[in-house]
């Protein structure tokens, strides 16, 4: 009578919807960060003036919305893995694995939402720049997006964001295991960069300087899988403390 197994995926799906609903505020938060990104202006430039001519150049980059999105998803990952959320998650039905599956589900939803949103914003940013400045003032290669370049941008943004999402989740889980990691992680990273900067650079090059999209996708997917898997593994024996 007692032995009927509970379906892990069914519980994880219920938890996923529960978490999606309880973190719905993050969807609005994303819109807010992107509006700030849109109007936050260029990332620098210069002015020069001669006797009759004055030139002001402002540089804009799509990296700004992407950085905002990364911070947004990092905060979401830390919230999902935090202690205050944990007590809420385990109030009803849950175990570590179902909780991780639901968390990863929410993060992947946010990832897709944030990735697509950021890409669309790139278009919006161009549109805004185009109409807010007089014609002919915008100088850039690839300012006018083609369908192909937009698709490529979407793929690149999604892949970079996936890597960041998985890394954020691991950081969140480590901090959940011990608050010491809030100090330890930056310290280790800093020390590593000082002592063996080359290795760190090689890791960066491995991901960032990959010219083939399919190979880049393969690297990112594998890394994300490893990061998520490792997060699940190291926290499987963690107790629920509220």
């Amino acid at each position: 009578m007692f032995s009927a197994e509970t379906d892990l995926w069914a519980v994880a799906a219920k938890q996923y919807l529960y978490k999606l609903k309880s973190h719905s505020g993050f969807a609005l938060g994303f819109v807010a960060t992107q509006i700030i990104a849109l109007f936050s202006g260029g990332i620098g430039g210069f002015s020069s003036s001669g006797s009759n001519v004055m030139v002001t150049v402002t540089r804009y980059t799509s990296a700004v919305p992407f950085i905002y999105t990364s911070i947004w998803i990092f905060v979401l990952a830390l919230t999902l893995t935090g202690r205050s959320d944990e007590k809420k998650d385990f109030s009803l039905v849950a175990n570590r694995t179902s909780n991780h599956l639901a968390n990863i589900g929410v993060l992947l939803s946010a990832w897709l939402y944030g990735g697509v949103g950021t890409t669309l914003l790139m278009g919006l940013q161009r549109w805004y720049l185009y109409f807010s400045s007089e014609q002919g003032e915008v100088i850039a290669n690839g300012f006018y997006l083609t369908g192909r370049s937009l698709a490529l941008a979407l793929a690149a943004i999604l892949l970079y964001l996936l890597l960041l999402t998985a890394a954020s989740y691991l950081i969140g889980v480590l901090i959940r295991i011990s608050y010491l990691f809030t100090v330890l992680l930056p310290a280790v990273l800093f020390a590593w960069a000082r002592l063996n900067g080359n290795a760190l650079q090689r890791i960066g090059t491995f991901f960032l300087r990959e010219p083939s999209l399919s190979l880049f996708a393969l690297k990112v997917l594998t890394a994300a899988l490893v990061l998520f898997g490792f997060s699940v593994l190291i926290s499987s024996r963690l107790e629920v403390n509220g």
Binding site: M1, F2, S3, A4, E5, T6, L8, V11, K14, L17, Y18, K21, S22, H23, S24, G25, S84, K87, K88, F90, S91, L92, V93, A94, N95, R96, T97, S98, S236, R237, E239, V240, N241, G242
Partner: protein, 303 residues
Amino acid sequence: MIVVEAKKLGKNYGRVKGGVQAIRGLSFIMEENKIIGLIGRNGAGKTTLLKMIAGYLRPTGGMLRVFEREPFNDLTVSAKTLFVDDSMTFPLSFTLADILREAARFFPGFDAKLAEALAEYFSLNLKKSHHHLSKGTKSTFNAIIGIASHCPLTLFDEPTSGMDSSVRKDFYRALLKDYIQHPRTIILSSHLLSEVEELLEDILLIHAGAECLHLPVADLKEYAIGLRGPARNVGELAQGREILHREEFGQGNIYLVVKKNFSPERLEEARTRGVETVPIATDDLCNYLTGSKGGIDDVFRRN
């Protein structure tokens, strides 16, 4: 059918050296479809034990089985168990109505109509957010979830903390009525036995993480007897028995509480020699069993 079984169960917090031993060598069996009282003083280990049964905490020694499984981190145990305490929290963005809806999704036996009726009776506004409730109202709402979920194993950890006395009485009555309609295993922890004893079938009394007593409430009422009278006569009657409690009065009178296993003739004879017999309230008995032998009087005697 056995729902909870513990053998030499132990739980240490922190490192072994200098850590706290919250539960030590606890062994018991809890049967299906009973209301069991988990009684003990503050810090006796009640919450730790319940959290281990709920699968939140991992035992550090001995064996614990819930529904014939190791409960720690077990999804099947979690699906059949609900742990209700006053620190039960829900997402900030959820209203009480949202929480009831969610509970219904997670627990197949959840009785939404009952939950709403109880919420209305206790004047809870379902549009309110859970974290805006006062302590007592929060306890009331959590208790409603505990009752309406009809979980095969429901654990209530001090469920009435913060509730006023009329809400407490109503809660116990609601729990009992619902239990009769939907029998299940309920463990109710409390430090006030008198408040819950009408409800309970068995009690497990724990002290300093170890078992003191585990027996039906009816037996507990007959467990001990108070003897009051001249010190010599009372002492003679109680000779060779474990004294659970001792109080001294003026003029050589004494009051002792001992286990009740006297023959009626023996008691009758004692009465003729001026020894009065007094029934012991279960609450007092639990205090005697878990307190220091001399009681608070001891402190004043020493100073």
